[in-house]
């Protein structure tokens, strides 16, 4: 599965009882009422643990976390930064 698929699976499983209900990769979590501020905290915990990244306070913005596509892009960028530091590049 791609990163985007992994994130979709987490969102659908955690917040939609496993039924995606037509959630698109660019659907806004907030506007669709899929994820609230507590849900964002849950998403952040998942991303940090699953992808071994650290998400800073200033990165907790809709541009990074408000849709499946945005989350995937954000995680990809973060991993690019982490890999050299971990010697995984």
């Amino acid at each position: 599965m791609s990163l985007q698929d992994d994130i979709r699976a987490f969102i659908v499983d955690s917040f939609l009882f496993g039924e995606d209900g037509g959630l698109r990769d660019d659907s806004s979590f907030l506007e669709e009422g899929v994820v609230d501020s507590t849900g964002i905290m849950q998403l952040v915990s998942f991303l940090q643990e699953q992808y071994l990244i650290t998400i800073e306070d200033e990165e907790l913005i809709p541009d990074n976390l408000d849709s499946i596509r945005k989350v995937a892009r954000f995680v990809e960028t973060k991993r690019q930064c982490v890999k050299p530091a971990l010697g995984l590049a």
């Binding site: 009422g33 609230d36 501020s37 507590t38 905290m41 849950q42 306070d57 200033e58 907790l60």
Partner: protein
Amino acid sequence: MNSTGAFSAQLLRLDPEQEVARICRRMRELMLNRVKRRGVVIGLSGGIDSSVTAALAVAALGGERVLGLEMPERHSAEESERFSGVLAASLGVATIKEDISGILESVGFYRRYAEAARRVVPEYGDDWKSKIVTSDVIDHPGFTVFYLVAQAPEGGLVKKRLPLTPYLEIVAATNFKQRVRKMLEYYHADRLHYGVAGTPNRLEYDQGFFVKLGDGAADIKPIAHLYKSQVYQLAEFLGIPEAIRKRRPTTDTYSLTQGQDEFYFSLPYEKMDLCLYGKNNGVPAAQVASALGFRPEQVEVVFKDIDTKRATTRYLHLPPLLVEEIGW
């Protein structure tokens, strides 16, 4: 809009005498016809909302039909107890003091709270104090971030971002306080055959700033339609002691003093009132911004935050939901 067409705090001015008469009339009707109890119990916190609610109950029902409950616990601010005593004396109502520390100890509140706090501040001791604060949504729009601010006995402050689990555990434990207090209010209401008066103002009621089955529970909520600044107007008219009227609103829920605007509301109440009023009445953000000395985009952020809180807390107002309606 006022007569000059400007948007300002003047729009929230009301005629206190008329409003008190209207509320008292309605309270009597509701108590007689719906609640069917002849008196009320009110939890007194020494704050403006419970003080005005108690004064209205006295005016509506008579002081002999009002029981004030003071329910401190070991983390309560000393001034809460002092001011609730001052209020009760000024109204001439009977009060009972129930220290809830023992009950909170029994349900494990202090232990559960400290354990949750130690998940983010490992050195957190039983003698530490703390509170939850949120990020500034006005200047740093984004998702709300919650922090634990903890203070060691020797005074050093630590501020750590709260991950989901300790955040939920701290809030869940803290909600014991409001629920224990409400349980005692209903104990005294039941033995006196009274109802319970809740004390939310409009900001709290609209934005879901209450604990379900805690301070959100009540038979009657006499000031839920009033903006906070209107509650202050009634307080002055009702002769609430000045010390209470001058006290800044606090949650008095955490062991460190916590302003309502550092935990829940994005602005101090005077400004929050105007934003909520503007939003409720279709006033453009630019006009509200001009009255507050903000940029329009900052007010847009507050408007959005109001919608978000409405959406995420609306379930707090719901009764238990049924699969099928049951006709009576």
